[in-house]
Structures are given as C-alpha cells and as structure tokens.
C-alpha cells in the first residue's frame, strides 16, 4: 500500500504535470511547486476522493489569513500528509 506522501505526490504530479521526482516531502505546494489555488482545487478533489475525507480548506485558509497558522503548516507536503493521516484516523474513530 503506497504511503500517504506517495499518493499525494502522484496526485500532484498527474494533476499539475510536475515531474514526480521533483516533488519532495519538504516541498511547499505553493512556494516550491508553484501550484495555484485553482490547481489546488483539483488536487483537493483527488485527495478527498483517494482518502475518503473532506480536507477543511476553508478553515485552513481562514487560519492563515488570520495569522493563526502559516502556509507551511498546511501546504508543506509532509505537514499536509500528517493532516490527511489525522483526518483519515478521525474518520475511522
């Protein structure tokens, strides 16, 4: 079974036509990979579907806009994968 990171990296690679080997765990989806908000909707749809979750993007965006969180907390891929794992765990709880 692929890791959360492998699944997310494959989704990003396929959705945004970014070479898979350039996508690292420490990559920032926006700052390093240049993914814009519209492309991120496609990625979010694919992630939601793949993991059977609903990533709380509105809440995350609000927290960033309010200065309560940094974009790294949600959009650096290793952190994003941790959030996904938490959502999957919460779903099964």
């Amino acid at each position: 079974m692929p890791s959360t990171f492998d699944t997310v990296a494959n989704i990003i690679s396929e959705t945004c036509d970014i070479p898979r080997d350039t996508i690292k765990a420490e990559s920032h989806a926006i700052n390093d990979l240049g993914i814009d908000s519209l492309d991120f909707l496609d990625i979010a749809f694919a992630i939601d579907k793949a993991f059977g979750i609903k990533m709380p993007l509105e809440q995350w965006t609000q927290e960033v806009n309010d200065g309560k969180a940094t974009t790294e907390q949600y959009f650096q891929l290793n952190n994003l994968c941790t959030r996904i794992d938490e959502l999957v765990a919460a779903k099964g709880a």
Binding site: A44, F45, D48
Partner: protein, 157 residues
C-alpha cells in the same frame, strides 16, 4: 431563457437532496441578436451558453446542498462535449449530479438532453464562497423564486 439577462434556465423541475441531483428545463428563444452573428442564415445556440446552462443548473444544486450558505462560482470545466447542434426554439432538459462537496469547492457532472437525446455533458468545478453582500443574496433568492426553486425542501434535506 432570457439570454440578455444571462438567465439560461427557465425552471427547476426536480431537486433531490438525498440523491444530490437536480433537473431543470429551458427553451431556447426563437429570436435573439446572438443568432444574427452565430451564424447568419444558420442560427445555432452557442456551445459556451449550453455550458453556462449546465453550470447554472449545477449551481442551483450546490446552493441547495449547502442550504443557501454559499455562492458557487464557476471555476473549471472538464471533459466538455458538445454532441449535436441546438437550434432556436428547441426545448432542453438539463440535469446535474453532485460528485463531491469539498471545503470551499464542489464538483458536479451535468448534461443536456434534447428530445431525450444526450446533447452535451461536462464535469464542472465551483469555488464556494460566502455571498459577497446581502443584495447579492437577495437577488439570488429573487431568481430562486422565478425558477421555482423549492425552498421548502432545504428545511427537510
């Protein structure tokens, strides 16, 4: 349809919140300045307007599913297929199904049929945002009434 007001559907025929589907209907006007240019002597309903009709149908479904708490704005279109010509005066049956309601976005699958025949279809993505202001929302509620949007079903959905 009132093309000059960008109203591409006439009536909501059915809204099923359990199945997350909607059906609407529309009649292409017999005359419009649009047909003078598209095309002279051979009037055709522009494909981009058929896509907008699918987006409006989908949009009302999203508004229903989110219980009038969010406004869906057209963000992306995928796999759009325009399968046959649509002429002035034709009646359209439109339907949409919600594929996914994400946080701040929604994805639908929509199609249009003429005389039972699949005419066009697409997958549409919307950004969902709060209504920009009370007037905007009031106008949407006014349009909902014109389209016979079943407000009562929201309370029971």
């Amino acid at each position: 349809m009132r093309l000059e007001y960008f109203q591409l559907i006439d009536r909501i025929v059915d809204l099923d919140l359990a199945q997350q589907t909607i059906q609407t209907e529309a009649r292409v006007p017999t005359a419009s300045t649009i047909f003078e240019g598209h095309f002279p002597g051979y009037p055709l309903m522009p494909g981009v307007l058929l896509i907008e009709a699918m987006a409006q149908t989908s949009g009302w479904l999203v508004i229903a599913v989110t219980k009038f708490s969010r406004m869906p704005f057209f963000a992306a279109l995928k796999e759009a297929k325009l399968r046959s010509f649509v002429s002035p005066g034709q009646s359209l049956s439109l339907s949409a199904k919600l594929l996914h309601e994400g946080s701040g976005y929604a994805v639908t699958k929509a199609d249009i049929r003429c005389d039972g025949k699949l005419t066009c279809n697409a997958e549409i993505t919307f950004r969902l945002v709060e209504f920009p202001n009370p007037e905007f929302r009031a106008n949407m509620e006014k349009m909902a009434a014109i389209l016979e949007f079943p407000m009562g079903t929201l309370a029971h959905g």
